[in-house]
């Protein structure tokens, strides 16, 4: 019996650092976030005590045009980047899954963007997008004539698209590797059978590859969407939400209100809504795919 209780004490000792850590780093902040969202909590303590303000933060956020612009931009970013990036990732994975010579070397090269810190990628792309004669503008001038250029990051009609292309480049290898593993799980016999039936490459893709990637697609759709909704670093360094708020995102808005303007209570309400939205989207996407499976 004493042996058992000794083992039990050992087990609690082994368990406690992680449990304590998670409580302090995730669980306590999570509930604090909810609590702060109903108060006028500031970042730096003030002489006036913090007060409970009920739903006032939520009311103010929901009537703030800048917030809705941030929501709109974030949704636009996700809607653009998710299909674009997944298409690139799948295409790249299919190339790497073909009988290409040097494909191991190509895979190593293709992974490189994933390894580069986002801050490094942002600096490189700032050069690519540079006005008046960065590489993108040099290509543009081939068509539009010299002297013409586009301020890719500095005009509100192109800034978000420029961020989309940069972001897809920065993180596509992650999805590519997962697609590649998915492609390798599809049995070669299925392709052989399809070829015997006279299926073209295009038909093989739609009838063998695409259905075979179903679960991978669900997983990648969910995590890529959630990743897209967290867009921050690129914005904070390159555009600071501009021009005219055209690249403000939810997390950037949260950072600006909570950290720069120090309105923690207000920004916590943004955080709570963000958490609810992310959870809802994940559940919704899962449910849509489940229903599709049943019908």
């Amino acid at each position: 019996m004493s042996l058992k209780s000794k083992s039990r004490r050992q087990q609690w000792l082994m368990l406690s650092p992680a449990i304590l850590g998670l409580s302090l780093i995730v669980i306590l902040p999570f509930f604090l976030s909810i609590w702060f969202s109903f108060t006028d909590q500031r970042l730096v303590p003030r002489p006036i005590p913090t007060q409970v303000v009920g739903f006032r933060n939520y009311e103010r956020i929901l009537t703030d045009d800048e917030f809705w612009q941030a929501v709109g931009n974030t949704v636009l970013f996700a809607v653009l980047v998710v299909p674009f990036q997944l298409a690139i990732s799948l295409g790249a994975a299919m190339i790497l899954n073909s009988k290409l010579r040097l494909r191991a070397a190509l895979r190593t090269v293709a992974i490189l963007p994933l390894l580069l810190p986002m801050t490094v990628i942002v600096a490189i792309w700032a050069v690519l997008y540079r006005i008046p004669n960065g590489p993108f503008n040099a290509v543009f001038q081939l068509f539009a004539g010299s002297g013409n250029y586009v301020d890719w990051l500095g005009s509100s009609s192109t800034a978000m698209v420029a961020i989309v292309v940069l972001s897809a480049w920065a993180t596509f290898p992650y999805q590519m590797l997962i697609y590649l593993a998915g492609l390798q799980d599809i049995a070669e016999e299925l392709y052989e059978a399809a070829r015997i039936d006279g299926a073209t490459r295009w038909q093989q893709f739609w009838n063998v590859t695409w259905p075979g990637l179903r679960n991978v697609n669900i997983f990648l759709l969910i995590i890529t969407t959630i990743g897209a909704l967290k867009l921050f670093t690129q914005i904070a360094i390159l555009t600071r939400g501009g021009p005219n708020g055209s690249t403000t995102t939810i997390i950037y808005y949260l950072f600006k209100e909570g950290y720069q303007t120090q309105k923690v209570g207000f920004a916590s309400a943004v955080a709570v809504m963000f958490f609810l939205a992310v959870t809802a989207i994940a559940l919704l996407q899962r449910k849509i795919f489940k229903n599709e499976e049943e019908t």
Binding site: L15, I19, P29, A123, A138, I237, I251
Partner: protein, 282 residues
């Protein structure tokens, strides 16, 4: 190892492979080319031409300037990032594996509930917790320190989950035999479970390494000066204050990228396996 087609790759595949290669390599070549050119005027003139992608001058001047800049001590930043990353990884692997072993093989009550709670915390986006974490950190007086950058990464629900999955599948007989031989619970973990868990350790190391190496939002909020600032924040500060000096900015960027690329080339197999294992759980 199925491949899409048993025939040789089509022209379309070869062309796409070429586009993929150029698309990834061209921006990197540009960064290297610019970093090797000490003449800022020349860099601006060459920017829209092929000379921006293939080095015509090779000079280490920008690198020397970046590494010896007293305002932005690059080597200090490199040390900071390396120290923060390694410490977080070691602590994370230690405490998360211990907890996971108890959850998978232990006898204490409430394990099911704890696992459910740990899995639930995975849903919470870290970005939505930064403000209360910041207030807690400033109350604790650890702003602008290494601790404040290390502690948030140590207890990690994803790491617990990956270890838990692995430890749950250890054969019962193995554990039982060790117990009969007089091993205590901790000794079974230390001498039997951990030595077997190398693949999980490397998966977690790679995933967390990328996460910490890339983290920006948290370090930008909790660091003030160069003493404890990591490379990612330093890079953006450097970029923000030296907008005209592209040669130096690119030398900074390349210097920052090289350690992680070397690390990757050494551990490429584990790296790919880790990314895939993070995906399989879905």
């Amino acid at each position: 190892m199925a491949t899409l087609s048993s025939t040789r790759p089509s022209r379309f595949t070869m062309l796409s492979a070429g586009i993929l290669f150029v698309g990834v390599v061209a921006p990197l070549m540009m960064a290297i080319t610019i970093s090797l050119n000490p003449d800022e005027q020349r860099i601006l003139v060459d920017m829209g031409t092929w000379r921006a992608f293939i080095p015509t001058v090779i000079s280490g001047q920008n690198y020397v300037e970046v590494w010896t800049d007293p305002v932005h001590p690059f080597l200090r930043y490199l040390f900071n990032t390396t120290f923060i990353t390694l410490t977080t990884l070691i602590l994370s692997i230690l405490i998360n594996s211990m907890a996971a072993f108890v959850l998978a093989q232990g006898t204490v009550g409430g394990r099911k509930l704890l696992i459910a709670i740990i899995l639930a915390t995975l849903v919470v986006p870290a970005e939505s917790l930064v403000l209360p974490q910041l207030i807690m950190a400033s109350r604790a007086g650890i702003i602008d320190s290494y601790e404040v950058q290390i502690l948030p990464g140590v207890a990690n629900a994803m790491a617990i989950f990956l270890f838990y999955q692995f430890f749950s599948r250890l054969p019962r007989d193995l554990i039982e035999a060790a117990r009969v031989d007089g091993f205590s619970f901790f000794q079974i973990y230390r001498h039997i479970a951990m030595p077997l868990s190398k693949p999980v350790v490397s998966a977690i190391a790679v995933l967390q390494f990328l996460e910490i190496w890339n983290s920006y939002l948290w370090p930008v909020m909790v660091t003030r000066g160069p003493e404890v600032r990591p490379l990612s924040v330093a890079m953006s500060a450097y970029f923000g204050t030296n907008q005209a000096a592209w040669g130096n900015i690119m030398a900074f960027a390349v210097s920052m990228a090289i350690p992680v690329i070397l690390f990757f080339l050494l551990l490429q197999k584990q790296f790919i396996a880790s990314v895939v294992s993070s995906g399989v759980k879905g």
